[in-house]
C-alpha cells in the first residue's frame, strides 16, 4: 500500500489525477474500518488531513461554503445556529471520538444510503463541490447519489466542499436506531421549511438504494400549510404527509429492519418532524430548538 500525503490542495488534485485509484482518507471512520478488518486493501491512500482549505468554511453571496474536511464536532459548535438540521443529524453521529474525526466530505464520499448527513443536505437542497486538475463543478446533492455507495464523481475528482443556504426556517431531523449513540440509522428523516418561499424540503435516509427526497410529500404539504396564519396542520394533513413520505421510500428488509417497519417509522418521524418544526417560534429557527445539553 502506498501512502500519499499532499501538503496543498493543488498537490492533492495533481496526485489524484496521477493516481486515480487513490482512496482519499480524512477522519478514517469508514476507510480505516475497511483496512483494519481487511475488507479492502487499497493500493494507494491519500491523506487529506494536512490540507488547510478543506477544514475552512465561509459565506459566499449568502451561501455557506463548508470545506469537506470540517468535522461533525465543528459543524455542531460553529454552524449549529445556521444549519440546525445538519447539526441535529451530526449529534447523532457515532460518539465524541467519531464526531471529532468524521466529516461530511467523507460521508458524501462513502455515499452510504444510511449516511446521517445526507437527509438534511437533501432537505436543504445543498450542493457538492467537486474538483480536479481540469476544473471545479457543483452538483446538487439530489443528483449526487447514483446507487448504494455510488455517486457521480469521476476517478480524478475530490470533494472540495458542500454549499448550503443558512436555514431560512425551522429544520428537523429524526433517526431510528437501537441506541442513541454509535448506530447506523435503521431509517432517518430530515425536514427543512422555507416560509418566505413557501417551500418544504425533505430527505429520507437508510430506506432506499440512495438517500431520497419525498417530492410528492413536499408539494402536498407546501400547499396545505397555513404559512400566513401559522395555524397548526390538522391530524389528517399530518397523516397524509406521513403516508406520502413513506410512499417515497424504497426500503428493503435487511439486518437492521424490515421494509415495512421502515415505511411505518418514516411516516411517524415525518409527522413528528413537521409538528416540531411548525411549532418552533421564529426566534428559534436559527437552531435553538432541541439542542444538545450545554457543552456537548
Amino acid at each position: 500500500m502506498e501512502f500519499l500525503q499532499p501538503a496543498t490542495w493543488e498537490e492533492a488534485l495533481a496526485m489524484k489525477a496521477a493516481h486515480p485509484e487513490a482512496v482519499p482518507i480524512a477522519g478514517g471512520t469508514d476507510v480505516m474500518v475497511e483496512i483494519n478488518l481487511d475488507h479492502r486493501r487499497p493500493e494507494t491512500v491519500m491523506d487529506l488531513t494536512p490540507i488547510r482549505e478543506l477544514t475552512e468554511w465561509g459565506t459566499d453571496d449568502g451561501v455557506l461554503r463548508i470545506g469537506a474536511g470540517v468535522s461533525y464536532t465543528r459543524l455542531i459548535d460553529e454552524l449549529g445556529d445556521r444549519l440546525p438540521g445538519l447539526a441535529i443529524a451530526s449529534r447523532t453521529v457515532g460518539s465524541p471520538q467519531i464526531r471529532n474525526r468524521g466529516t461530511v466530505g467523507g460521508n458524501l464520499g462513502t455515499a452510504s444510503p444510511a449516511g446521517d448527513a445526507h437527509p438534511p443536505l437533501l432537505a436543504a437542497d445543498a450542493e457538492v463541490e467537486l474538483a480536479s486538475t481540469s476544473g471545479t463543478r457543483r452538483v446538487p446533492v439530489r443528483e449526487f447519489f447514483t446507487g448504494p455507495k455510488r455517486h457521480t464523481m469521476r476517478q480524478d475528482e475530490l470533494i472540495a466542499a458542500f454549499l448550503v443556504e443558512p436555514a431560512p426556517g425551522p429544520q428537523q431531523f429524526s433517526k431510528v436506531g437501537t441506541r442513541n449513540a454509535m448506530v447506523i440509522a435503521v431509517c432517518s428523516f430530515a425536514l427543512a421549511l422555507d416560509p418566505a418561499r413557501r417551500r418544504v424540503g425533505t430527505g429520507i435516509g437508510s430506506a432506499g438504494p440512495t438517500p431520497l427526497r419525498a417530492v410528492d410529500a413536499e408539494a402536498f404539504i407546501a400547499g396545505e400549510l397555513d404559512w400566513d396564519g401559522r395555524r397548526p396542520p390538522s391530524d389528517a394533513t399530518l397523516s397524509r404527509f406521513g403516508e406520502l413520505v413513506a410512499a417515497a421510500a424504497k426500503p428493503i428488509d435487511d439486518v437492521r429492519g424490515t421494509a415495512a417497519y421502515r415505511r411505518h417509522a418514516l411516516a411517524v418521524m415525518s409527522r413528528r418532524c413537521l409538528a416540531w418544526a411548525w411549532a418552533t417560534p421564529p426566534h428559534l429557527w436559527g437552531g435553538g430548538a432541541r439542542s444538545a445539553p450545554e457543552g456537548l
Binding site: 501512502f3 478488518l37 471529532n100
Partner: protein
C-alpha cells in the same frame, strides 16, 4: 515508511511502517505503549481513545501516517490522576480493559465541562463500551472526579 511524532511529550520515530498500520498499532507494537487497548478496530468501543493534536479520537481509526508530525497523548501521558483515583474509589474498574479509554474520555469531558450532568456524562462516554460494570459505577466515578 517512517513515522515521526510527539508521544506524551517525547519525539518518537518508527521505521519501516506498513502504510496500512493504524496509529493504535504503531503505539502498541512500535512504541510499546500498551495502555491504549485494541478491541473492535472500528471505532465502536473507545478502548483506544487518545488525544491527537488535543482532540479525543479512536487511535484505531487514525492511519499511522496521519499522525506524522502530530502530537499524541495516550493514557500513559494524560494528567488524570484524579480521574483514575475516582475510578478506583467508586469501584468503576472490574476487568479493567475499557478503563484506559474511559480515563482519557472522562479527562476530555471534564476539561470541556467541569461539572457535567448525568446526561452529559452518558453522552460524552457513549463511545466507550464496558461489558462488566453496567456503567452505574463509571458515572459515579465521573461525578466523584468532578467534585
Amino acid at each position: 515508511m517512517r513515522i515521526a511524532c510527539t508521544v506524551n511529550g517525547h519525539t518518537r520515530v518508527a521505521e519501516n511502517v506498513w502504510a496500512g498500520e493504524s496509529l493504535l498499532y504503531v503505539l502498541r507494537e512500535r512504541f510499546g505503549l500498551y495502555g491504549s487497548k485494541n478491541a473492535c478496530e472500528q471505532g465502536e468501543c473507545g478502548s483506544c481513545s487518545v488525544y491527537l493534536d488535543g482532540s479525543l479520537v479512536c487511535a484505531c481509526l487514525v492511519l499511522g501516517g496521519q499522525a506524522n508530525g502530530r502530537e499524541v497523548v495516550t493514557v500513559e501521558g494524560v494528567d488524570a490522576a484524579g480521574v483514575q483515583q475516582a475510578f478506583v474509589d467508586a469501584g468503576a474498574v472490574q476487568c479493567g480493559f475499557c478503563t484506559p479509554g474511559l480515563i482519557v474520555a472522562t479527562h476530555d469531558l471534564l476539561r470541556r465541562v467541569p461539572q457535567p450532568s448525568d446526561a452529559q456524562i452518558r453522552e460524552a462516554l457513549a463511545g466507550n463500551v464496558c461489558r462488566c460494570t453496567g456503567y452505574a459505577k463509571i458515572i459515579e466515578a465521573v461525578n466523584m472526579a468532578a467534585r
